[in-house]
Symmetry: C2
Subunit: 425 residues, 2 copies
Amino acid sequence: MTTGVTHVVIVGAGFGGLEAAKALADAPPSVNVTVIDKRNHHTFQPLLYQVATAGLNPSDIAQPIRHIIGRQANCRVLMADVTAVDPAARTLTTTLGPLPYDYLIAATGATHAYFGHDEWERLAPGLKTIEDALDIRRRILLAFERAEASTDPAEQDRHMTFVVVGAGPTGVELAGAIQEIATHTLRGQYRSIDTTASRVVLLEAGPRVLPTFAEKLSTAAADQLRSLGVDVFTDRAVTDIDGKGVDTNEGRIEASTVLWAAGVAASSLGRSLAEGTGAELDRSGRVKVGPSLTLPGFDNVFVIGDLAAATDAKGVTVPGVAPAAQQGARHAVACIEADLDGRPRPRFAYFDKGSMATVGRSRAVVEIRQLRFSGFVAWVTWWLVHIWSLVGFRSRATVMASWAWQYVTRRRDARLITNTPPLDP
Amino acid sequence: MTTGVTHVVIVGAGFGGLEAAKALADAPPSVNVTVIDKRNHHTFQPLLYQVATAGLNPSDIAQPIRHIIGRQANCRVLMADVTAVDPAARTLTTTLGPLPYDYLIAATGATHAYFGHDEWERLAPGLKTIEDALDIRRRILLAFERAEASTDPAEQDRHMTFVVVGAGPTGVELAGAIQEIATHTLRGQYRSIDTTASRVVLLEAGPRVLPTFAEKLSTAAADQLRSLGVDVFTDRAVTDIDGKGVDTNEGRIEASTVLWAAGVAASSLGRSLAEGTGAELDRSGRVKVGPSLTLPGFDNVFVIGDLAAATDAKGVTVPGVAPAAQQGARHAVACIEADLDGRPRPRFAYFDKGSMATVGRSRAVVEIRQLRFSGFVAWVTWWLVHIWSLVGFRSRATVMASWAWQYVTRRRDARLITNTPPLDP
């Protein structure tokens, strides 16, 4: 900082990283910002399940990072992987070479966790990236093609059974959308199978679906799922997954398609941050930071979003949701600006905006502090909030149009199977 | 046919195959139709270059085959690869097992041809499928990312040079669109490079661009390309391609991105049709059929579209364009229906609907028999014809909206780099 230029490096262009970059737009002219991400695009993760279920196109919910912040004069965008951090030397190791920083905002988020069963990843993909969503879309659509091509009833049943493991918001959304595809979208387009006879199974190891919501809403969501035709099982833990089904504590389910929505772990940058500094990681690999959101001993390194295990100044645990990441980003930027002005840093107070999950057509649950409701009004609320939050005007308009179209026709127009070898049952 | 059921198998769901399936919708109830394709979607190839250049999403120009014809009562859709034909036994070998037929309509189209240099395919991809288009999109966008990440001016120049080999309609369209991206879409979003300084080179081995068009239109197209900023070279043959550029008969061009639009070959089903029957293939591997469009000696096997080298009843050579494939399909169906009615088969007369190519924003050439024009009116004509021909209402509306948006803002919203390892210069 003695050079007169302050270089702020932001790793990860998710909700937290992008918010930090934007908040730095009005920083003093001495501030230079670099945003580094291994992808060229920001992904609006709450709607990934719509890509996975053929309702939306990748570019409806993903935008080039350059497009969002590339014209911000003090901001440079690099596409590269960050492999290590050396907080003492204030330098990142990247696939493009070393990158020094004055301030670091680490916001690389989370990935899937298979609880020690990494071999399940190949058999039961999770949903974090556009590639994941396209892989899941391919698996769902191929399963119906395989069922149509088969003449063995048991095999057809297996191809027409879809198991979703984990009943958090993603699992609930996936299960509802697959049921909708089977019951309505694909109806009548096959000759050997009746897609409406498909079976969608949602498995939750805990006692209720949507465990982070109020109990009343868990019950409502389970009822809504069942009314769609989804088989919901709680207290049902997966003990094994192979290419033809899942074993649980209460027996086996034959299914060609198994999707994983059961657990997340912080991305590997957390380990690198801990290694050099002795910082602690929690069970999910998140870096334990105090209410300052800084790496212990390094007040120029902020850890925000899903990469951090944080409590705010009042002792409230900060959850792994987009608004929390964005609030963390604004706090980090406020601290940097306070340092530059010679002011004391502000305290971080997390503001809970509530949470919501959609279950399917016209069905959702919403929880905003003490306000809890479900059904059609909840679904409209969910819809408006998500459309409003989508990055960029065109995405908002296209997604709105796509959904209106889907709602009326029950069509899903992104039903393409790409990057696949020829069908071979 | 003695069973009372006539089974018509259509291989390939391109323009020809789909048209045949639709034409069979009103066939007598004794007719069963199977459409078999190795993909689950029909691709509107004339607009593939828009996906390759980030203007449109895959599902804007590709539709599930089932969605188009899956509800036609006499029609079954199978996703599988056809590996061989045995015309004497009236049976196809497929990845799902043997498939017998009474009538076969072979419509598997064409793929790229590298004139004996198959090793160039990896270095200079062609544009025939959605996967090709996404690969090309990735290469173009990654080239700019690599240029931004580089500090070596020569390397930056190489990354910012795009060579398109072959100046038929696809090559002309690609070159114009890449120039548009570099000049307008990406402008101002990079810090180390000025994308408007990019170089787009169009190489044509023959004496003029758009060689199948009238000479006046070739000149117009070359002028339009040059006015956009494209470097157009004719009589320039490629002698070698490596990862860093192309060698030509008049020297080397350093370029990270080389795209292939120089030649097509019929798909491999042609060889299988010839092997069993002694039918002749032309230089491009197309099956030589008479004006009946049938395999010599097998009047129950029709070969249509890009897979056939055909002349019509008046001796006119049938070109490899979508309307010709569709006319061939309708002829095949008319012959089958004539057989079933005990009538003599009709003669095939090709009707030339004209041809057109777009060069870029507001620029195109159109040739309809003696009517030849270029410029803005040609572009509007091209635009209307292509929108009109797009399969399905939603695609039409979405593409229209996307283009209107692109035209006004010069934005291209599908600029996602997917399925790529981290950047590593």
